[in-house]
């Protein structure tokens, strides 16, 4: 009698089994990483122990001084962009207007703040006219190069000026920039971030939490 062990599987079947195990491990690992990233996204400040946000001084559209203290006492959604941004800025600001509407009577319990990362070209009057397009109150701000550099640093905003024509580096430029919306509570602490690609339902849940927390 041959051995009572089951006949060894053919090599292809064994390979297939190994591959399935590898897939299962990858899915599990991916899930853990994803959950980790989600948590980090929701509470980066707490998670990383970074001093996120913090004091800033800017100039509002009407020429008045806008600081973190001016905004304190009410939560706010802050977004960084520029008026020559053809797509992600109008899309994001329109969306914030839409989300505010969707929140009904809670819609005015948070402020929307738009900060230009193009202070050389976006003057207070420019940003003021720009945000009027969105038919909801938006606090628009710009500042000196140093002021914008400071708030960019404290919010971790990536900004890079890129010439539109590489052959003409001194010519017209566009600006690569971070496109997330930062939700700050009434004390100026980060509550969460609304990602550009995220569904409205998720963004509304984050805004509701922001309002409830404040």
């Amino acid at each position: 009698m041959p051995s009572i062990d089951p006949a060894p599987e053919n090599p292809m079947a064994q390979l297939r089994k190994l591959l399935w195990i590898a897939v299962a491990v990858a899915v599990l690992l991916g899930g853990i990483l994803y959950i980790g990233a989600e948590r980090a996204g929701q509470r980066p400040a707490a998670q990383n122990g970074l001093n996120f946000g913090g004091p800033f001084t800017l100039t509002a559209a009407d020429g008045s001084v806008l600081t973190d203290k001016t905004l304190a006492g009410k939560p706010y959604a802050i977004f960084f962009g520029f008026t020559r941004c053809p797509d992600v800025c109008p899309t994001t600001l329109s969306r914030m207007a839409r989300l505010r509407k969707a929140l009904g009577k809670d819609g005015d319990k948070f402020a929307i703040v738009f900060v230009s990362v193009d202070p050389d070209r976006d003057k207070p009057a420019d940003i003021g006219e720009y945000v009027k397009l969105f038919e909801t109150p938006i606090i628009a701000a710009t500042g000196t190069d140093a002021q914008i550099a400071a708030i960019r640093k404290s919010y971790g905003i990536y900004v890079a000026k890129v010439p539109l024509d590489p052959a003409d580096p001194k010519g017209d430029y566009t600006i690569d920039h971070t496109a997330g919306v930062f939700l700050m509570d009434a004390k100026g602490q980060l509550s969460s971030i609304i990602d550009h690609a995220e569904a409205d339902e998720m963004a509304i849940a984050k805004l509701k939490r922001l309002i409830a927390e404040s």
Binding site: P90, T91, E129, Y158, A197
Partner: protein, 162 residues
Amino acid sequence: MTLPPRTLALPALLALAAPPLLAHGFAAGKIAISHPWTRETAATQVVGGGFMKITNNGKTADRLVSASSPNAREVQMHTMSMEGGVMKMRQLKDGIVIPAGQTVELKPGSLHVMFMGIKAPFKKGSKIPATLKFKQAGSVKVQFTVQAVGSTMPMEAGHAQH
């Protein structure tokens, strides 16, 4: 013919619904362009993105080589992408290839033409004339419909006015 009235009604409705799709289309040779649209701009804004679908019904690839408009200093072709939460836009100096038998969609978050140096604000509901130049099909005059700033896709004619 003894078709009951109800049977006639549906095709009639479809016929009514169809024209807007055809109404806002432009063609040059084997190239067809549907629903060019752009967004309203603020008084101080100097740029605006333009979007449309370009179909190449021919058997050879074509290329959108340039665009111009009397309403802007210059019209460039751009691509946009999101990389790690960062928005990036780049000029496509070689234009946009329209492969044979395919449709290329210029849309928010992706390829677009960009009106640079807008001469007067784009007002919602108005039309912005432009000329698109294709390598094979030649030039075609189109009209970009100006939509609300929050638009992410072309509105059909019946929904254009709010």
